[in-house]
Amino acid sequence: MEYEAVIGLETHVQLRTRTKMWCGCANEYGAEANSNVCPVCLGLPGVLPVPNAEALRKTALTGMLLNCDVPGFSKWDRKNYFYPDNPKNYQLTQLDFPSTIEGFVDFEFGEGTERVRINRAHLEEDVGKSTHFADHSGVDFNRAGVPLLEIVTEPDLTGADMAYEYLNALKAILEYGGVSDCDMEKGQVRCDVNISVRPIGQTELGEKIEIKNMNSFSGVRRAAGYEIERQIGVLREGGTLVQETRRWDDAVGITESMRTKEDAHDYRYFPDPDLMPHTPSEEWLAEVRASVMELPLARKRRLMADFQLPASDAEVFVGDAALGDYFEVAAKDAKNPKAVANWVMNNLQAKLVETGGSVADVKFEASAIGELVGLIEGGQINSKIAQDVFVEMFESGKSPAAIIEEKGLSQVSDSGELEAFCNEAIEANPGPAEDFRNGKETALNFLKGQVMKASRGKANPQMVGDLLKKILGS
């Protein structure tokens, strides 16, 4: 019997906000332990939460980016459980009326595009972080109360690689939207993976096994791959699977049982009486909607269609949105957008790395790159001179035409003038000239180099080659 896997993901993403979800403490990673805390996020007696408007806005924006509905009513619930990192011993979350519902993410997988449905993206609060020492434990509450978005898919994923690609696509969307930095190193993204297997052709789902608290996408891929094999193995050997929660041991590369359904928590959810429901107005929703930007996959496709870029170039511009925006301005009226792309990705990028600047710091107009490419294409300068012109553009911000004019760098395409250079070179280097005549093709390059040198690089290399051949062949 053949089996197939069914996977659903719950991805927790820290929102990028200035302050925490319910108080004015900084939402900042890496500060000294318990320095970004106040009575509210420490759960001191008597405090009350006040929702962070920026977090609400970014949640709605995320919903829109994930093609979700943003209902006119959402509310907060208390999820009750005791843990030392949980200051109130209940976590504020959204149980039955989440901020956003029912969307989807399209992403590239293999040769085609896949769609995973999003059940919901709801807002909750992060908890503190426990550290265990030799004889005691400590809790850092800097993270407690940081806004956390939980993005829940439908069980639409069918394999470990597909889950991995979905996560990458999700991360790209969230980064694009400025919703989260998605920095895995800082624990800003954590995943719970729900996996079951079933015989192909069976419609009902198998027993769901949850792998909790994965903190890397590659870990998710490995754990899911392992778990699918394990579950199929159990079934093939005639065993049965029970609904349970498992832990991924990354070092050993296996999953281990944490708890079964029987000892699952009863979280005793109920509506939080300290917070009013969130009922966004039409105006507010319209304002958020106005900030919706093009998604990475859509942009990639558009760059490929509008500028005839290969997928790899388009991906570079999608991956670095600011560079992509710059490219689009530079290539707007360019006849050869691919050449513009090369200049942006290679020369400009190299200069920016060298100077540690960003595209915002570039002194010349983006359109100047298109102009430079036009000058090369039109034969006004050769590509070597163009390199020098570019360096000058980067330093002074002057237009390429102005630099060429100023420095007299215009390419020499006058055949009379070029012929003189060629004859000089042949006369000065009889050996190589003879070699060429005797069929040694590479000797021509040497002579060409001499002509370029004599013309201080301004000679049109194509014409020089043709002229040399003509003189030596006659």
Binding site: P45, G46, V50, K88, F270
Partner: protein, 484 residues
Amino acid sequence: MPHTLTISQLTDKLTQGELTSRDATQSCLDRIAAVDGQLNAFLSHDPADALAQADAADAARAAGETKPLLGVPIAMKDVIAVNGHPLNCASKILGDFNSPYDATVTQKLRDAGAVVFGRVNMDEFAMGSSTENSAFGPARNPWDTDCIPGGSSGGSAVAVAADECIASLGSDTGGSIRQPAALCGCVGLKPTYGRVSRYGLVAFASSLDQIGPITKDVRDAATLLGVIAGEDKRDSTNVPEPVPDYTAALTGDIKGLKIGLPKEYQVEGLDPEVKTATESAVAELEKQGAEVVEISLPHTEYAIATYYIIATAEASANLARFEGVRYGARVDGASPEQMNRATRGAGFGEEVKRRIILGTHVLSSGYYDAYYLRAQKVRTLIRQDFLNAFEQVDLIASPTTPTPAFKIGEKSDDPLQMYLSDIFTISCNLAGLCGISVPCGFSNDGLPIGLQLLGQPFGEPDLLRAAHAYEQATDWHTKRPNFN
């Protein structure tokens, strides 16, 4: 004897320079030293801090400042946060915890110039009707020290009734201001839900709790409410309704005011003396031109059950934070779970544990729909009862409590009987109304009896006007316990 004065009397004397805030504060401190050993109204107080505030108030007055409570000593229920002072909620579990911040009401009192002093006794975490549930011993009723003072704001009422302060703040979740005020012969006002910020009030039941004043007369209640009411961005359930001048509502004129008497409040167990006293009070209101009609609140019989489901459910979560990890008393254990169990087992009293268990149960998987969800639906019906009634009447009158104060220990083994003593006060919180208790007589044993008036949401001006008009025609509020 400045400690016997009302806010308005003291303010007059301070303004006229007959007294200083230091005189008044010292007078209260002396009174506490003299009588509180027998009453146990104060869990703690800091005389040096109180006098420093009094001196600051006197200096401010000398510099020409005028503020509504400048130099007036106000005592605080031990459930309201005051920066740098203990916040125990009359429980052992908070250990030596001092609040590192001020509640919004504390800040508002300070802004109004008050001398904020003392931590007054209460039922642990405001759970109770007698102040017997205090981990620091019961407070005693100054009218008969063998009797309970009511609760949960028992200490707030005792401190006012025994003139240990000029006025106090309490909190009311199901009657916890009105009931002790009635049993101690004071005025107690529970504002409309959302009228006063709850920031800094340690939550018992978040959807029911409100802070309010306990005072020596209705005018003081109006003054104090005017200070503590108002918008607070730190409390999302606070309603940004403008705060009127409540003392301006005290016109003495209640002609045409319509007062409803709920027929469902003719309950078994209503003490005949209480019945007579409140009927006379209603007759007095009628005499002054109010129109009295019978009304119906059909869901009254479900109020106590509804209350004990919703309040305990919220409390079970609200009190989860007390486990010794970050603050308060801690009993060590081999694991976090064992530490929780040991700390909470040792730190909470009987009644608090009973309510946490009840609240945990009603939220449990499989019981939620039958208890919590149904209680929320009934709560909506109870609120609707009142809103319907307020289509016909301006105020609703009833006894505040079914009986005068009972003896300490009399009901402590019978929690259900104790819960029934809140029968007239509890619906007001479920429906989000405002309510007041004013003295309206004494039992043959010399124990005070209170008249309760209920008003519609944000109907405090009418409520205060009627209570004040009644008070003007009677002298119950001027009586003081013969206690020394």
